[in-house]
Amino acid sequence: MNNISRRRFIQWLGSASALGALGAPSLALPNSKARIIVVGGGFGGATCANYLKRFDPSLDVTLIEQSKQFYTCPFSNAVLGGLYDMDFIRHDYAKLQSKHHIKLIQDKASTIDPVKQTVRTTAGRTLSYDRLVLSPGIDFRWNAIEGYDPAASLIMPHAWKAGEQTVLLRKQLHEMRDGGVVVIAPPANPFRCPPGPYERASMIAHYLKQHKPRSKVLILDAKDQFSKQTLFQDAWDEFYPDIIEWVPGSQGGRVTAVDPKHMTVTADDERIKTDVANIIPPQLAGDIAHRSGLTNDQGWCPVNQKTFESTIYKNVHVIGDASIAGKMPKSGFAASSQGKVCAAEIVAALHGDTVGTSSWVNTCYSLITPDYGISVAAVYRLSDEGIVGVKGAGGVGPRDAPRSTRRMEAIYAEGWYRSITADIFG
C-alpha cells in the first residue's frame, strides 16, 4: 500500500499552506485503502473484520471462510440437552457483507507467503494483503489418543467443532438405550473452552434425566482440576447425583486409546464399554497456522501481547484459540475481545497512531439445567508478563449464591449469546 498514511498525509497537509496545497493540481489524494485479509469467520475473525470496518470504513476488508454458515460451539451443549435446535446456533455472513461492506470469499485459505504477503486458497486463488489476520481456531491431534483419527470421530464424535458433529452426537444420544453409558473424555490443558466438557456433561445429563433416567455420564478426564469445578460439582450433587461421575486423571481418568469397532475406551489400562463416546482430543492451532510456520513447538501461535502480531512473521496477526494470549482462556468471548483489540491496533498502525490502552474481557456462562447457570469472568490488561487478569476482579460466582442468582445467570447466558452473536454477525 501507499506508505503515506492518511494521518501523516493530513499532518503534512496541515503543515503546508492548506489552501495552496488544495489548489495544487499535481496533488492527488493518497491511496490509503489498505487491504486487510481475515482468515476464519468464527468468533475472532468475524469480530475483527466487523470492527476493522467500524474503526475505519474506508478499509478494504476481505474475509476468507470456507463455510457458508457458522455453527457456534457456545450453546451447542444446550442443543445436545434438547433446549434448542440447530437453527439457534447457526449464523451466516450476509450482514457482514451487506451492512459492513466486508468482502466474503467462500474458500479455504491453505497457506500464506509472509514475504510476498499473499494468501493461497485451495481453489487456487492468490490474494495479497497489507495486513493479515488469522483466526483459524483449533485442529485436533489425531492419534494422540491411540485409534482416534478422523474416521473414528464419525463413530465417537468430538463435537468440539459445532455442526455435523453436534448433530451426530445428538442422534447417538437419542438412539441410545435407557441404562446406557455416555463417556465424555476431556483433554489436558490448554484446549478450546475449558468449562465446555463439564457443561456438556450437565446438558447431556439433563436430557438423560428426562428421557433415559437409568443412564450414566462418565467423565474420563485427563486432568485433576477443571474450570468452575466447585460450582459444577455442587450442582451435579444436587441435580444429577446418580447420573454424572467424574474420574480425574490421577485416578484412572486419562483415556489413552479408543476402539470404535467395539465401542470401548481405554483409561488406566482398563477397557470400558460405552454406548456413546464423546472424545475431545488434544488440540493445536488450526491447520493454516502450523502449515505456515506460525506455531511454536507446542502447536500454538506466539504473538505480541498488545497487537496480536505474530512474533514469527511481520504483518500477520493471530487471534482466538490459535494464539497464545497470556492468561486468557481459549473461549469465543476471549477471541471476540481479541478481534476488537487487533482491529484497533491494525487501524492505528496504518494511520501512524497508537492505541493507548489495551483491555480485554472474558465472560463465560455454563448451563447446568435450563434454569441454573454459573459464570466466570475476568478483565484483562497488559503487563510485563503479557496479558493478565486484573487482580481483585473477575473469578467464578460465589458458591453460596442464592437460587435466584443461578436462575438469573441461566437467563443471562442466553442474553449473552444473543448479544455477542448480534455484535459479531449482526
Binding site: I10, G14, A18, V361, V379, E414, S419, D423
Partner: protein
C-alpha cells in the same frame, strides 16, 4: 455507520483548509478500547437484543453510578460486581461517556 473515530477525508480536508490544526486529528482510542468488550454481553453499541440490560438510552451518569455501585458492592448483581472491579473510576467514566454518546 453513524459514529466513527475517523473523520472522513473529504470532510476533513474542507475543515482543515479552513481552521483545524493537524494535531486535532489524533484519535483517542481509550474509550472505545475500554468499552468494546462490553458489547459482548450488552450488545452492539450497548443495544442488547436479549435479556441482558441495554446501555443504550442511559445517560453517562446513570451508567457510571451503576458501575461504581457494583464495584463497591453497594449494588448486587451477578457478574457485574466482579467485572466492575476491573476498572478505575476514571475508566468507568470514559466507558459511560462512550456509551451515552451512542445514538
Amino acid at each position: 455507520m453513524k459514529q466513527k473515530p475517523w473523520i472522513s477525508l473529504a470532510a476533513f480536508t474542507t475543515c482543515a483548509a479552513l481552521i483545524l490544526p493537524a494535531t486535532a486529528l489524533a484519535t483517542d482510542y481509550r474509550p472505545a478500547m475500554l468499552a468494546n468488550p462490553c458489547a459482548g454481553c450488552h450488545g452492539p453499541d450497548g443495544d442488547s437484543p436479549g435479556s441482558i440490560p441495554s446501555l443504550k438510552g442511559l445517560t453517562a451518569d446513570e451508567i457510571a453510578s451503576s458501575m461504581k455501585a457494583y464495584k463497591a458492592d453497594r449494588r448486587k448483581g451477578t457478574v457485574m460486581n466482579r467485572i466492575a472491579k476491573g476498572y478505575t473510576d476514571e475508566e468507568i467514566d470514559l466507558m459511560a461517556g462512550y456509551f451515552s454518546r451512542k445514538p
